[in-house]
Amino acid sequence: MSTFTIARLTFYEASRRKILLAALLLGVLFLIIYGLGFHYLMLDVEDSIGIRDRVQLNEIRNFLLMAGMFVVNFLTSVMAVLTSVDTVSGEINSGTIQTLAAKPIRRWELISGKWLGFAVMLTLYLLLMAGGVMAIVYLRTGYSAPHPFRGLGLLWLNVLLLLSVSIFGGTFLSTLANGVLVFGLYGIAFIGGWIEQIGSYMGKVSAGQVAIKIGIITSLIMPSEAIWRRTVFELQSPLVKALGFSPFSALYYPSTYMVLYAVLFLLAAFAMAVWLFSQRDL
């Protein structure tokens, strides 16, 4: 099937162009720095509060785990956009797509092949980074987040969502315009998420309610931040969840419907990418 040939080409390109190597080296460097930081911070913490106060220790371990996951979410999101933003528009612009599309291959196979190639690469990157952070925390302290697999699944959804939007934009925009679009949407979702979070602390004050609505609307425009906050919900310690006070948490967490909406958003972006690419002249 040509989809797999294109997926292999895409993955191979990332490898040949040293994208994989750079990501791997910097990922390992991040994990080393995180691991060292975590180890020495925990030494200090264990020294000051003792190792018997498990509840307090776990709160600190969870906080540091969430800090690591916050960076992982950011890095994988950036990686998803930067690696794929040029893949369709760049090939159209340079003309390399012509010899591919002139073969007995359907347009949807080209798009799905590219999507699959990047999805495999980003999945491996996410597993390295998120799995690495979780493994460091677990191996050093024996602590594991409440729902690690759900958390990983949501981070994966977020990466695939951004990848799909980036490929969708590439079918009708130039590389630069596509980059502006995807990072713009990501930025809107990010700031909307923070407005919603601040609004949630304001309780029933009308300004707070407006802020929450703004957050919901931005989540509908681009659900990436909502998925991150749902990830936080799955990984956060029950105590912090109950208190609702941490840089990574909010009083209101996106519902399962929002996760479902994000899945549909991803599928719609992918379907639109296939449709637009099938229609366009190369």
Partner: protein
């Protein structure tokens, strides 16, 4: 049962927003023909080629390759294509590049493993098979592009300016490959600015201007009849020159020297008799077969308009 032509198009038209690129592409290319596609820059040649390959959707009209609609991807398994602005994945090695395209043709790996060295040898790149395409010169890229167009032993090869980056040796190579393809029964659709190559390789040619096919003819018919005539004469006047257009065309005057073309050699003695009867002093009258370049300019025009 009669086999469908290799290419058959009917009133193919392409507009980009409000700009007309091809107004009417109607042509038939029979199987086994070497068909030249000629026209000035911007006449719609590349757009026409892209429509044949379904890289561009026509605004209206129909087209078929081997009797199968252009939009059917399966038919492109029988087509090899070298684009004009050949840009490939330059981070691939030459053999990897060919293997990728063999996979896209869905060739079995054992067949492609056998075919790739053959083609590298054919285009003179055997010793560069493990070299990355980024290290290739323009001519080498064109050669490897030609090799990928021939991977699947296609029934139709579409070459868009296949020799534009090649040196004389490379051009000769392409000419030989086209001749071999033709002898093997492969249809070749050749879009080239090198008219001397068209002259040597093609059976039939189509002239396209302003997005419309304005003439299709065998090269024999086109070149066999037309002749360029050079006349040195005195006492010519505008009336006589005007009268000459009955037997010739494209008259150019430079003092006592006149050049024009005639569609048939038998017109020359008629012209001579007419000039003598008009008391024109004829010092010399010589003829030679017209070149495709002159013919191209005659048919397509010299105005530079597209």
């Amino acid at each position: 049962m009669q086999l469908s032509p290799a290419i058959q198009t009917s009133n193919l038209r392409k507009e980009f927003n409000s700009k007309l690129a091809v107004s009417d592409l109607t042509l038939t290319v029979e199987r086994g023909e070497v068909f030249g596609f000629l026209g000035p820059n911007g006449a719609g040649k590349t757009t026409s080629v892209k429509m044949l390959l379904n890289l561009i959707s026509p605004t209206s009209g129909k087209g078929k390759l081997f009797g199968v609609p252009l939009s059917e991807p399966g038919i492109r398994a029988q087509v090899g294509f070298l684009p004009e602005h050949f840009r490939f994945h330059e981070w691939l090695r030459a053999d990897e590049f060919l293997m990728l395209h063999a996979d896209l043709y869905r060739m079995p790996r054992d067949l492609s493993s056998q075919r790739i060295p053959e083609l590298l040898d054919l285009v003179g790149l055997s010793s560069h098979s493990h070299k990355k395409l980024s290290q290739f010169s323009k001519g080498m890229l064109q050669r490897i592009g030609l090799a990928q167009a021939l991977l699947n032993r296609p029934g139709l090869v579409i070459l868009d300016e296949p020799t534009s980056g090649l040196d004389p040796v490379g051009r000769r190579l392409v000419r030989d490959i086209i001749r071999d393809l033709s002898e093997g029964g492969t249809t070749v659709f050749l879009n080239s600015h090198f008219l001397s190559e068209i002259e040597v390789t093609c059976d039939r040619v189509a002239f396209i201007k302003k997005g419309e096919v304005i003439r299709i003819s065998t090269l024999n018919n086109l070149m066999g009849g037309y002749m360029t005539v050079e006349l040195r004469a005195r006492n010519m006047n505008p009336e006589i020159i005007q009268e000459l257009t009955e037997w010739c065309q494209d008259i150019r005057e430079d003092g006592e020297r006149f050049t024009f073309s005639v569609p048939d050699e038998s017109n020359i003695p008629v012209i001579n008799r007419y000039l003598v009867n008009q008391n024109v002093e004829v010092f010399s009258l010589s003829s030679q077969h017209i070149s495709l370049e002159d013919l191209f300019i005659q048919i397509v025009g010299t105005e530079g308009e597209l």
